[in-house]
């Protein structure tokens, strides 16, 4: 399995969250558990960045180290230009400066963590109380924020009277109370049903755009990344094993994240002696009639075994599993043609393309035959 090293910040836009060599070791008795093992993370301004991984991968430790709820064992955390690890001071208790910095980092939690003794508005007012905002101003701002998350009419309801999705909206309103530049989301939708998850994610995405927020979310659900993330990172055993913008990842052959994000099914029909390849269309290439061109140009019979078409981070992406007659060696040229068209091609027998080292630029085009074909194919694979 190929893995790419953690991607360095090579794009435009300022980096809002940076961690360097972030390490967290928990000591219980004489046992040591390394939760974070040298994590370098770069989140650019205005993007929604998803960190995925199975439970125990270190996601929770990572997000808690970002606002120093957990003190990193070593390494630095810089949020919005401030080195939080330097603000922390030597003692176990957070100083006033770190507390002030935290109030500018919103956080949303899996179990909402709303005070059951306060109304929705009371909960949103809490961070404002901590910031010392006077009462009238607090009430005004809280009402405004509840309106922003679509809960203006529930301001006086107690959490026990709200549904899960409503509670999380209150949680989001609360996280926004300190006018944060950064929003941390700790599995914010994991306790919600799919329908509610979608609406909460949509809200996060819209708010991110409207308010110019940078959102870092951790999740174990690929659908979340697919729905809202501009960039994503995969964590395993305390390390980031893959990271990049979603389109980069999709364009990266062998990317685990891409495969997880966008699984394509379909078994070879002809069995041995044929070549199966997974082709990813993204960006403009998705609109090109490449498959029919391939068939015409090289006079091969292309079978479509499976296909999926979806919107990832607001962009059309298609994946196609095709089968060509003949062995891989016989099909080098047609496959090369597809790559030339800006598609990502992976062959299932391990003959992937050479490492390209970065995202590929996609070519432009007008027609939408391939996309159409893929869409048609998707209906056959609808249960995938």
């Amino acid at each position: 399995m190929r893995r790419r090293p953690p991607r360095n910040d090579d794009c435009d836009g300022t980096t809002v969250i940076t961690t360097t060599e972030l390490t967290k070791v928990y000591r219980t008795g004489d046992r040591e558990i390394t939760a974070l093992d040298g994590v370098d993370l770069h989140v650019r301004e205005g993007e929604v960045f998803g960190v995925v991984g199975q439970s125990g991968a270190g996601k929770s430790s990572l997000i808690r180290c970002l606002n120093l709820l957990e003190r990193p064992t070593s390494g630095t955390v810089t949020v919005d230009g401030r080195d939080l690890t330097a603000l922390a001071g030597p003692g176990p208790r957070p100083g006033a400066e770190l507390r002030r910095a935290r109030s500018r980092i919103g956080m949303v939690f899996q179990h909402f963590n709303l005070l059951s003794s306060r109304t929705a508005r009371g909960n949103v007012e809490l961070p404002l109380e901590i910031l010392g905002v006077p009462g009238r101003e607090r009430a005004r701002k809280a009402t405004e924020l509840l309106d922003l998350v679509g809960l203006a009419d529930k301001a006086r309801a107690y959490p026990a009277q709200l549904s899960g999705g409503q509670k999380q909206r209150v949680g989001i309103a609360r996280a926004l109370a300190g006018d944060p530049k950064v929003l941390l989301s700790d599995e914010a939708t994991s306790a919600l049903d799919p329908e509610t998850t979608r609406s909460v994610l949509r809200l996060l995405r819209e708010l991110g755009r409207e308010l110019g927020l940078t959102v870092l979310l951790i999740t174990h659900e690929m659908d979340v990344v697919k729905a809202v993330c501009d960039s994503a990172a995969l964590m395993r055993a305390g390390r980031i094993v893959e990271s990049g913008t979603v389109s980069e990842l999709l364009a990266t052959p062998g990317s685990e994240l891409a495969r997880e994000l966008f699984p394509v099914g379909g078994r070879p029909a002809r069995g041995a002696g044929s070549t199966v390849a997974d082709v990813t269309f993204h960006g403009e290439a998705a609109a090109e009639p490449v498959i029919s061109q391939l068939a015409r140009t090289y006079n091969v019979d292309v079978s479509i075994l499976g296909a999926a078409m979806d919107t990832v981070a607001g962009k059309q992406v298609g994946r196609l599993r095709i089968e060509l007659p003949g062995t891989f060696e016989n099909n080098v040229v047609p496959l090369g043609y597809l790559r030339e068209q800006g598609l990502t091609v992976e062959t299932s027998d391990g003959h992937g393309p050479p490492e390209t080292g970065g995202p590929q630029k996609t070519a432009g085009g007008e027609t939408a035959h391939a996309a159409h074909a893929a869409r048609t194919a998707r209906t056959e694979e609808a249960d995938k």
Partner: protein, 514 residues
């Protein structure tokens, strides 16, 4: 006792109980709350993690909780004196009650605060909240229902403690039950106090539950889930009302305490410590019928034990006492280095030999068991009584402090030594028992009819007298009381009331032992 006699007793007892319990619980809550919160904060994973502080606090709380309340109460007497100026009375009882209840409540607070979801603390820390923010905005508001339940539990525990406080002059319903119910076999009073205590505990529990219900209303997705505006008004008003009512109770009690203190104050009042029966009864007779005419104001404080009345007299917390006889006082003065002197003899409670099975002295035979009081003087007296009637032989020269070791010939009898007050209760288990006159009377034995043998009241060294600290004999109030206690009215009262169980013995206390 008739209901008209019982009623004021119960009313006074109830008010005193409420006052002691209410104020003591209020103090325990104010002290236990920070203690309990600190126990959580300093613990592993807490905001103020400090293993040393946590261990020390934990140890203090555990010591406080493991001391039996009676022992705590006696051990705290010096502190109580320092704070209240006296260790007698409901106000003084508040000190040990509050100190005993504080660690109890602290543990309840600790449990309640630990139950608060750690996620909430994390959320507030993530907002930039400081430790005080976490405590006052999260831990306490979220734990409020459990805290209120804890206050209820503490109140009820303190009601239990307060009964014991009654035994050292604290007053209250517990004292009424002990003195009238247990020691005097007034079943009616006992039942009434027990019922009152049950009612009191039930009311406290109901009130506590109502407040818990009111403050935890918003934790339930109740009928008002459709968030209008109307649903809020009711619960919130009710919640405020419930909290207000709960807060008013201790305030009202404090007022009662201050008020009642004024009522019993004043320079002219003579405070006398006495055993509940017969001494306090005789004093109350004087108080009711004779004192006013003589221009004397009496405050009678009842004690079930025989040490505190003397210590209180020595320290000046009471002006006089009336419960003891000369041999006891001499011994006490010698051992405790006190300077208490007798003023005037009042009565004697002759010891008698009683039996449920035997009807004459002649029927007492070998192999039978006789119950004796186990304290030095009463046991000596009992053995002397038996020796006088030839039931046993004593060593020549064995005096008032004779013990079973001085018996040269028990004539086959066996002895069972019991606390004086408990001897009457043993009558069904032994063949005969030597019982003090007052206790005999209380267990409905008539000394002049039922006793097989009785001590002679004449020249009896065990006459009970009024006593004061040396130097106070000439206080005009003491002299007035002495005169009243030796009046014909009191003589008549004693004879009528105690029917020979207690004999009036008036006059100066003889200096030397007979």
């Amino acid at each position: 006792m008739s209901w008209s006699e019982i009623e004021p007793l119960l009313l006074r007892g109830t008010l005193q109980s409420l006052y002691m319990v209410g104020v003591a619980t209020l103090i325990a809550v104010l002290a236990g709350l920070p203690l309990g919160v600190l126990l959580v904060l300093t613990d592993q994973g807490g905001q103020l993690r400090s293993p040393v502080v946590n261990k020390v606090l934990g140890a203090v709380v555990n010591v406080g909780r493991s001391l039996p309340f009676v022992i705590l109460m006696v051990a705290l007497i010096p502190l109580t004196r320092l704070i209240v100026g006296s260790f007698i009375g409901p106000t003084a009882a508040i000190v040990p009650l509050a100190i005993g209840a504080t660690p109890f409540f602290a543990r309840l607070v600790e449990t309640a605060v630990r139950e608060v979801d750690a996620g909430l603390v994390e959320a507030v820390r993530a907002m930039g909240g400081s430790t005080p923010t976490v405590v006052f905005k999260v831990l306490l508001p979220q734990a409020l229902p459990s805290l209120v339940a804890g206050v209820t539990t503490t109140l009820i525990a303190v009601i239990g403690y307060s009964a014991m406080a009654g035994a050292i002059g604290g007053g209250g319903l517990g004292a009424v039950a002990l003195q009238y119910g247990y020691q005097r076999f007034e079943t009616g009073v006992m039942v009434a106090t027990v019922v009152l205590l049950i009612v009191l505990v039930t009311l406290v529990q109901l009130l506590g539950d109502a407040v818990v219900h009111a403050v935890s209303r918003h934790d339930r997705a109740g009928g008002g889930a459709a968030a209008g505006t109307g649903w809020l008004r009711g619960p919130r008003r009710r919640r405020v009302a419930a909290l207000g009512a709960a807060a008013l109770v201790p305030v009202g009690l404090l007022g009662y305490g201050l008020g009642s203190r004024d009522a019993s104050g004043g320079d002219r009042t003579l405070t006398v410590a006495a055993s509940p029966s017969p001494h306090a009864e005789i004093l109350e007779y004087v108080q009711r019928h004779l004192a006013r005419k003589a221009g004397l104001r009496l405050d009678v404080r009842k004690f079930s034990d025989y040490v505190l009345p003397n210590t209180a007299t020595e320290s000046g917390e009471v002006d006089a006492n009336f419960f003891q006889h000369k041999p006891y006082l001499d011994d006490f003065n010698k051992k405790k280095h006190t300077h208490i002197v007798p003023v005037v003899d009042v009565e004697v409670e002759p010891l008698g030999l009683y039996s449920h099975t035997v009807h004459s002295l002649k029927d007492i035979k070998r192999g039978q068991t006789i119950a004796l009081p186990n304290d030095t003087t009463n046991e000596g007296r009992a053995l002397q009584l038996l020796a006088k009637h030839r039931l046993i032989d004593l060593k020549p020269g064995a005096g008032q402090e004779a013990t079973p070791a001085d018996v040269t010939d028990a004539k086959g009898l066996k002895f069972k030594e019991l606390e004086a007050a408990a001897v009457p209760r043993s009558l069904d288990d032994v063949d005969a028992a030597v019982i003090n006159g007052n206790y005999a009377l209380e267990s409905h034995l008539n000394p002049s009819e039922d006793a097989l043998a009785v001590e002679s009241p004449r020249h009896n060294p065990f006459a009970n007298f009024l006593a004061v600290k040396d130097g106070r004999q000439h206080d005009p109030r003491v002299r007035t009381l002495a005169k009243l206690l030796n009046s014909p009215e009191v003589k008549k009262f004693i004879e009528r009331r105690y029917k020979g169980g207690i004999e009036p013995v008036f006059g100066r206390v003889p200096d030397s032992r007979s």
